[in-house]
Symmetry: C2
Subunit: 325 residues, 2 copies
């Protein structure tokens, strides 16, 4: 039986709502409940459940792996917000603003440990497989965050550096989430690899879409400040590709715009937007996104399963890269 | 064959020296190498190796578990130093001073993940046992650090609160280190429990000794600022016990000393020292330390092993609580 995304999401929300209620000291757990309560899209844990459901009806068996991935993802948001000095998250005060930096660091640490701990419900062989996969991608995610921070002060970032960074920072977790679901569902090693590659490539497409939406999205739909990447002079694919495409004069102009943080940002945003469009960086971004999407879906199609079963993941992949928010 | 503490320590030092040399990005791994290079006493990883050696000659088999415990311990120091705004660690700049807070947070996170990852060399059953034990004590350690921070702003800390806090923050890791060594050496579940209780209780005695040394130790031998706990108005066992023992007038005097942070601290330190001594708080601390030591050693003696084998751990336990630095 096919379940809807909303059903998977509801089961995650219910599971997490009951977590960390009676643990002591409350000062450690209250920040954890706070960040988990502002639920976000729950895409990663739903991917775990959906992938498990490809192979068995009892997709609820994957709920602890889904919790692992979601608690881990929120841990990264929590610690990243401290590192990036971001004060808002999903429309609420970031944890380090609401609870102070020491508690934010420590509660994040505890979430990272709980992420590993959730996997302990699985049998020894599965546990080892899941935990090893999870630790490897967690390390990659730390590397991605460090690269992201390093890029801020680097003048030599290439497009391939950027793709590697978003692959580490964002995409490998999507790949691992889907692979973990498959492992719990009992898929073959060949399918495990396809699941991972599906998630990873869709994840790269997803991040490129994020970069496009940041610049060209409709603020009301995206729900966060549009053009934050331009305001913060982030070296995204759009920026790096524009530098590749522009002539010396255009390049100098874009660089000088990115060296400034004017009070009135609107004019800067408008000019950068128009540069990205006119030099075709936007079109290249759409094309690259499409290429990763197609590559990702080819791995979904390669799974040793009836085609119908794959429809919910096909739909989700399409939503993730065609979304307008 | 009995090995010396120096041999165990050397094997840890050699192992860790070769770690994180070629991982990328270097900006993530350089802070990790930095903190691991200032080696400290390596007590916890040596306990892992020594406990394994109780049960098998090939104590080197426990080296990855020893690395897990040591990398984790250094992760806690790294993050605690950010939380406590401590600028020095083992005579060098703390990581967050040398590399900045964002890198310190992120490198710490990576160390926590590597701690779990080290255990992956063991077979699935052992891995699950080791990882579950390790995650449980890691959570307890977070709880202990949070309690320690909470105590700063609390006027109602009791001695039993304090013992629970040091048990969480310090002792359970010693217990787990020794138990992990036993698991790898193939000991019985009964011995596992004795090993844990031995380490935990010696750990509590060790922490009480730390508190005593902080106040009454010889600065040249201890190697850090003596009386840091008095300067920072820390609610240690000595302070809490003194409040129990003193009359109303003495209690008020001690509280007023702990409410102040005078420029010239020497006078404050001298007066607090003399209060702790005259009200017998120091004597009580020595007695309590001795009680935990005896309890710990009773678990060592209860191990199902020839007495000779236990001598290195007997010696180490004695050193840990009788040390003058």
């Amino acid at each position: 039986m096919i379940s809807t995304f909303a059903e998977y999401k509801k089961s995650i929300d219910l599971f997490l709502e009951k977590e960390f209620l009676n643990d002591s000291p409350d000062t450690l757990y209250s920040p954890i409940r706070y960040i988990l309560a502002s639920s976000g899209k729950r895409i990663r844990p739903c991917l775990v459940l959906m992938a498990c459901h490809l192979y068995q009806e009892e997709w609820q068996e994957a709920i602890h792996a889904a919790a692992c991935v979601e608690v881990f993802h929120n841990f990264t948001l929590l610690h990243d917000d401290i590192m990036d000095e971001a004060s808002l998250r999903r429309g609420k005060e970031a944890v380090h603003i609401a609870y102070g930096i020491p508690s934010a660091i420590l509660s994040g640490d505890a979430m990272l440990i709980y992420a590993f701990k959730y996997l302990e419900v699985y049998g020894a062989e599965s546990f080892k497989k899941l935990s090893s996969l999870f630790s490897s991608v967690s390390i990659a995610i730390c590397a991605g965050q460090q690269e992201d921070m390093d890029f801020e002060n680097s003048e030599t970032v290439t497009i391939s550096d950027y793709i590697r960074m978003i692959e580490n920072k964002t995409s490998v977790l999507l790949g691992a989430a889907i692979q973990m679901g498959g492992i719990i569902g009992g898929c073959t090693e060949e399918d495990e690899n396809h699941l991972y590659e599906f998630g990873k490539n869709i994840g790269i497409a997803f991040q490129i879409q994020d970069d496009i939406l940041d610049v060209f999205g409709d603020q009301d739909k995206v729900g966060k400040i549009v053009a934050g990447d331009i305001i913060n002079n982030k070296k995204t694919y759009l920026y790096l590709k524009a530098l590749d495409l522009l002539d010396e004069k255009g390049k100098a102009r874009l660089k000088s715009l990115y060296a400034s943080t004017p009070e009135a940002v609107e004019k800067k945003i408008e000019e950068v937007r128009s540069i990205f469009r006119s030099c075709a960086a936007e079109a290249y971004a759409q094309e690259l996104k499409e290429a990763y999407y197609i590559l990702g879906v080819s791995h979904l199609e390669a799974l040793n399963l009836e085609g119908d079963k794959k429809q919910p993941l096909r739909d989700l992949a399409e939503f993730l890269i065609k979304r307008d928010h």
